[in-house]
């Protein structure tokens, strides 16, 4: 067993790329908010890209290391320190018994990800290790980490490299403020004026924002009079228009279906950056097409695989 939680964070859960195949039963897929950071952290320690990782919000947990472990941190930078000394972000770090891992300050971003070489010991529910808090299954006992928990790893750490950090790192992704969207099935619900404002104005993420969705603050967007929509499928990134003319962007813990017009969808390659936005941040939208969106995602995944190959190669040396 590797990590003893000596101080709980506000919301630290094990997540992978989500639980699929059960949405017809209303079982929402969940998974990591920032799927790019999840894969990046895994690549750096030589894991399969979709291995379960620890997703942390700030304030994050503090850990006492009980067994050696090779980790990497990606996503938000919470000013990680080992025994009081800063450790790098996006670079593999070797932890030894009795090391104290703490996160001091939310420098940048909203969700930090920690991968451990070999993967965390996590319980699988319906094919996924993502934590489903409502059903209390998956991840670490189906819940967030609490003080006293011992978070284990599936395998022993690689041999001690004789130094604290391994000499390779990934480049931090650029944080976006303009997010590409695709038109949703109810795009034509909003008036031409509303479309103009949607693509020109700034939208502020309110405090009523969490893993389920981000509520936005802005002038109400006018829409055409229409019949109320009956419930239909919604996805991570779906932008709904609420009855008061305000928008909500559904995030990782979205419900499977919703009854509000789906104006658009944030693209998969932009969702990781959106997942790092905080209440108070102002964002904008720009319209794109499916081909461009797919190509961007393909490029992101291609780069992740290159990184994974390079790291795995070096780890095996």
């Amino acid at each position: 067993m590797s990590f003893e939680v000596i101080k709980a964070g506000v919301l630290d859960t094990l997540q992978d790329l989500g639980r699929f195949g059960y949405q017809h039963l209303g079982i929402n897929p969940g998974g990591a908010m920032d799927r790019h950071a999840l894969q990046l952290a895994n690549a750096l320690v030589g894991n399969a890209l979709g291995e379960a990782v620890l997703e942390m919000h700030f304030p994050a947990a503090a850990f006492l290391v009980q067994c050696p472990a090779l980790i990497a941190l990606a996503g938000a930078d919470f000013d990680a320190q080992l025994n009081g000394d800063p450790i790098p972000h996006l670079q593999p770090v070797y932890l030894r018994k009795n090391d104290l891992l703490q996160f001091h300050y939310p420098r940048r971003g909203a969700r930090a990800y920690m991968a451990v070489a070999g993967g965390f010991a996590a319980s699988e529910w319906l094919g996924s290790k993502s934590t489903h808090l409502l059903c209390q299954r998956g991840g670490f006992k189906g819940r967030a980490l609490q003080a006293g928990d011992i978070l284990g790893t599936k395998t022993a750490a690689p041999a001690d490299p004789g130094r604290n950090f391994l000499p390779w790192h990934a480049t931090a992704p650029v944080q976006k403020t303009v997010f590409s969207i695709l038109k949703g099935p109810e795009w034509n619900c909003i008036t031409d004026t509303a479309m103009y404002h949607l693509l020109q104005d700034a939208f502020v993420i309110t405090r009523q924002s969490d893993r389920m969705g981000y509520r936005l603050l802005h002038d109400p967007l006018p829409c055409h009079a229409q019949d109320e929509m009956v419930s239909s499928a919604v996805d991570f990134g779906t932008i709904q228009l609420l009855p008061d003319g305000k928008l909500i962007i559904l995030m990782a813990d979205h419900q499977t279906t919703g009854g509000y017009p789906r104006i658009g969808h944030v693209t998969a390659s932009d969702l990781p950056s959106l997942a790092q936005c905080q209440p108070g941040d102002a964002i904008q939208f720009s319209l794109t097409d499916t081909t461009t969106a797919r190509n961007r995602w393909k490029q992101q995944q291609h780069d992740l695989r290159l990184l994974q190959n390079a790291c795995t190669f070096r780890l095996n040396q």
Partner: protein, 234 residues
């Protein structure tokens, strides 16, 4: 039911990784039959790259593995989906299951029962009789794991959703607009609670975690507070 007929539907994208088949925008048995048929067909003969199906009242979404989508797989899938939908007959729906749900219709178990009685101008006994008379179709699952949307609801007990959602205990039977449902979990909810079932409708560790699924025929059977307590303990 059964036989081919000109199929009216629309297929659109739902983000980069989804395709949405829409038969309409209403709570309607015929449209829902089409959704269930298509769900059956796509479950028995999955399109390549499919990772999830989300049937709803009058629509069905198919989600694909992003790796498949990025290879422009959904363009092929859209064409296949169109072919399947066009050829759909409602004769292929599996026979529905009949499920009886015991319900304790008591103000102690259901905070909105008296309010519903007042709002509809009916006595509590009338509300109970009207609600528990029909056999309801489960149109779809959504909102929460194991939450079954059922209907149609008798016009005499139709009320709009609450403007302010309240905390709803697990097992609550509730109504709103043309629908009725059961909350498998305690949750904030905007529907009016009129009863509570002692049954556990969601068991995470069961082979089939949800007791209900779309297509089920559900009848609510009133039980006494004593029966409710006894069934809870067993």
């Amino acid at each position: 039911m059964g036989g081919t007929e000109p199929m009216s539907f629309k297929i659109s994208t739902l983000g980069e990784n989804g395709l949405l088949v829409q038969f309409g925008n209403e709570v309607n048995e015929t449209l829902n039959d089409k959704v269930q048929s298509l769900q059956q067909l796509l479950t028995d003969h999955p399109l390549p790259g499919t990772i999830d199906l989300v049937p709803a009242y009058s629509s069905l979404a198919v989600y694909f593995d992003p790796a498949y989508t990025a290879g422009s797989g959904t363009d092929t899938a859209a064409a296949e989906l169109e072919k399947f939908t066009r050829a759909l007959t409602t004769a292929s729906i599996a026979a529905s299951r009949f499920i009886s749900i015991p319900v304790c219709y008591e103000p102690a178990q259901a905070t909105d029962l008296l309010a519903v009685s007042r709002a509809t101008g009916l006595t509590v006994e009338e509300v109970i009789a009207i609600h528990s008379a029909p056999v309801y179709r489960v149109y779809m699952m959504g909102f929460l794991p194991g939450f079954a949307y059922m209907g149609p609801l008798d016009a005499r007990i139709r009320l709009p959703r609450k403007s302010k959602p309240a905390r709803v205990p697990a097992g609550s039977i509730a109504i709103a607009a043309n629908q009725t449902g059961i909350y498998p979990f305690s949750s904030p909810g905007g529907w009016h609670t009129i009863g509570r079932t002692p049954l556990r409708l969601f068991d995470a560790d069961a082979e089939e975690p949800c007791s209900l699924r779309s297509g089920d025929q559900v009848k609510f059977e009133p039980i006494s507070p004593e029966e409710y307590k006894n069934m809870l303990q067993s």
